[in-house]
Amino acid sequence: MEEMHQVAIAAKDPASGRQFSSQVSILSAMELIWNLCEILFIEVAPAGPLLLHLLDWVRLHVCEVDSLSADVLGSENPSKHESFWNLVTVLVLQGRLDEARQMLSREADASPTSAGMCRILGDLMRTMPVLSPGNTQTLTELELKWQHWHEECERHLQDGTFASSPHLESLCKIMLGDEAALLEQKKLLSNWYHFLVTRLLYSHPTVKPMDLYFYAQSSLDLFLGGESSPEPLDNILMAAFEFDIHQVIKECSIALSNWWFVAHLTDLLDHCKLLQSHNLYFGSNMREFLLLEYASGLFAHHSLWQLGVDYFDYCPELGRVSLELHIERIPLSTEQKALKVLRVCEQRQMTEQVRSICKILAMKAVRNNRLGSALSWSIRAKDAAFATLVSDRFLRDYCERGCFSDLDLIDNLGPAMMLSDRLTFLGKYREFHRLYGEKRFVDAASLLLSLMTSQIAPRSFWMTLLTDALPLLEQKQVIFSAEQTYELMRCLEDLTSGKPVCGEPDPQRLQDDDVETTKVEMLRLALARNLARSIIKEGSLEGS
């Protein structure tokens, strides 16, 4: 709030200065209302302490005193300062009688002629009975004492003790709670609720909560004097003095442009179980209603949505489903943001939202030909079908270009590989290439064979696999055993047997007949040679 003040003052152009100032005033108003609600609804101060709380409230929110005080006291000759009497008056209006007394004693020092009067007034100030915290006197005792004191003040006024000093006389009248005198100080009071509290202080210090409204209404009327009409803030405060929580919330909703204040106030009141006790059976519904409104508003913001999530968490009935609907709509402008959103969903077991968001991202990636990204999103979405689709694309890319993209991802699939058969094949196929690269030919060979025999490899890919087997068949050392070679031969025969595999038409075969035939012949030759060598090898004694 103070920062806002400073920014407002420092604002370079009047427009933004005005904007900051208006925001400051809105915040001040909110604080004013909040504190009053705390005093009336939560503290539920009874008669006696009630006034003290209200005094604190006014002192806190009408803060010109401090700057005025600094001005006056900081000057060379405080009691001759033009605002001296204003300061003393304000102090009296706020019930800060000790400070007022100190001011008076300065005046007494400065001008001996009025010293006597100052002393008397100062004494009156000192002896005003107040309910101090921890004081054990009852209200009745206090009232009695106060009555005596009031009469003493009255006597002084009648006797004309302060007749020669209009300032002091006016102060005395104020302390007697004289309405006319108080209304003369409208400017210093600055608002009707200050007027109300001062009036109560000096005429009905033991006011009961239930009587507050009556005094508030008359204070407002007297202060405005028919010249102006109440503003929204006045209506809100009046509703509070009337202890009409519902009306307070309603007026705040109307006057303020967003739900922040009302949502939090209602939440607080609900936690204090006040909404029920005030006969608002729809209380907790209203709390949730307002919180939902506020949280929904936060979701429109590019980063405040994260706060909104927390608010939804505290709405037991509709929070979760509201969150589900809102969170899907957050534009995922960066990967970071997407991850944040997903984390929120995963923490709350919102599996459908996770799936949907990942699917959206996977689809976007596929359309932009970023297969690695698409694959990782499919895995996160646990979307087997889409993972199969992306794996197929990878394999097609490999066939066309002879190399893999996004090797890192495929190499580190881990258990995610099991998501779909095609994905498993992709992972294993890459593993085959790695083994081959590491010259672990026997392992590579077994893997290659198993890919075909275990039916994991799609039929359309067998030719590629067999072609991959060629270099292994033509190594100096025998890698495929006889058994394995028989298997390979069987696979090749299966493939070339001429009948199209159901569901997998192979137009390629018709087009690249020549290439295919050559390949097949080479394979047959290589397989036959390997068979021969492996039989010999296996038939020989170990060590050869």
């Binding site: 909703s253 109307i254 006057a255 303020l256 442009s257 967003n258 739900w259 729809f282 519904n285 209203m286 209603f289 939902l292 409104e293 929904s296 508003g297 936060l298 979701f299 429109a300 913001h301 509709l318 489903v321 509201s322 609907l325 809102h326 899907e328 709509r329 957050i330 534009p331 995922l332 402008s333 949907s356 699917k359 959206i360 689809m363 976007k364 359309r367 932009n368 030909n369 689709l389």
Partner: protein
């Protein structure tokens, strides 16, 4: 509190529909100039036209986005008796630099003999499916069985409504308790036509859509119809744009009480009726959670409607078509979260044919 931003659309004729995508960052407009334009919102909040192309050989009445799970897909429908599905192709890098994107037609749906008046995608849990409705009174439901192949759509259902149709709405609820539902509105002006809003429900047993309800109290031409998103309610909420704004609740009657195997019976209640537009209401549109309804009318205003915690519906905001606030708007303080959150579903277009206004 609303902030209005004006966009020079550059359509050469009346704009009939405006549609935001799922995330509210892309917008499509369609016009009597036979074209569709796609707009993208930049980081700074400005809207730029990233595509503009001729889509039909007649006025384009409606345009709508598919769920982003299916990619960047649009559907449009036109006076030329067709509906079309469009997909965005990721362009060359110089296209991207110029901020342009390219849309290709994936399929044309030519089954209708008359002007196709509305096209809407089904909720995503039903797969890639859309429904069209035509002036000949037939609602057609199409499905693309392979979501990666947008050129293959098959006609799954033809629903006869017996009245010239003007608008349709899918019930977005994905709850298993609710079978798929379509609401159809009619602007038929023939004297025999009475009830102008009908609800059709999909029957698992017969595998067909059957009429579940007719809203007998809606006897004036219906210009728009919209189911509200469902926050887990057992009942449905339907908004209708006709000579006024109407909001209905449809409570399913317990199955044991109805003949088994037939469509669900509903208890229909009207929970709100507002004639504040004081003229024909052309569009109604819900926000994400189904808590705010926006309506637009021939008075050139957009109005927002909201129910309080006591389920009483009230107007919470009025916006003039040119963006200026309306003085004396009630409860302006309790207006909504910034328009942005409503934006994805806010269709504040003013129907051109009757009002003759341009979207500026």
């Amino acid at each position: 509190m609303f902030v209005a931003r004006s966009i020079a659309a550059d359509h050469k004729d009346l704009i009939h529909d405006v549609s935001f995508d799922f995330h509210g960052r892309r917008m499509a407009t369609c016009s009597s100039d036979q074209s569709v334009k796609v707009w993208d919102k930049s980081e700074s909040g400005d809207w730029h036209c990233t595509a503009s192309w001729k889509t039909h050989s007649g006025s384009v009445w409606r345009v709508t986005w598919a769920h982003p799970e299916f990619g960047q897909v649009l559907a449009s429908c036109s006076f030329d008796r067709t509906a079309a599905v469009w997909e965005e192709i990721v362009g060359e890098s110089n296209d991207k630099l110029r901020g342009q994107s390219h849309w290709v037609k994936r399929t044309t749906l030519v089954d209708s003999r008359t002007s196709v008046t509305d096209v809407k995608f089904a909720p995503k849990h039903m797969g890639l499916m859309l429904a069209t409705c035509s002036a000949d009174g037939i609602v057609r439901v199409y499905e693309a069985p392979d979501v990666m192949n947008l050129s293959q759509w098959s006609l799954q259902h033809e629903i006869s409504c017996k009245l010239s149709c003007s608008c349709i709405s899918w019930n977005p609820s994905s709850s298993r308790a609710h079978p798929p539902m379509i609401a159809v509105g009619s602007d038929d002006s023939s004297p025999n036509a009475m009830a102008k809003a009908q609800i059709f429900e999909y029957n698992e047993n017969t595998r067909k859509y059957a009429k579940a309800e007719t809203l007998m109290t809606v006897t004036d031409p219906v210009h728009d119809i919209a189911f509200a998103p469902n926050l887990g309610r057992s009942f449905h909420i339907l908004a209708i744009a006709t000579k006024d704004v109407r909001i209905f609740t449809l409570k399913p009657v317990r199955k044991e009480l109805t003949s088994s195997g037939g469509p669900t019976k509903f208890e229909i209640h009207i929970v709100a009726q507002f004639d504040n537009h004081n003229s024909q209401v052309w569009r109604v549109s819900w926000n994400i959670t189904g808590t705010v309804l926006a309506s637009s009318g021939d008075d050139g205003c957009v109005r927002l409607w909201k129910a309080n915690y006591m389920d009483n519906w009230k107007c919470t905001g009025i916006l003039k078509g040119n963006g200026s606030p309306v003085s004396g708007s009630s409860q302006q303080g309790s207006s909504n979260p910034p328009l942005g959150s409503n934006v994805p579903n806010l269709q504040n277009s003013l129907n051109g044919s009757s009002a003759g206004r341009k979207h500026s």
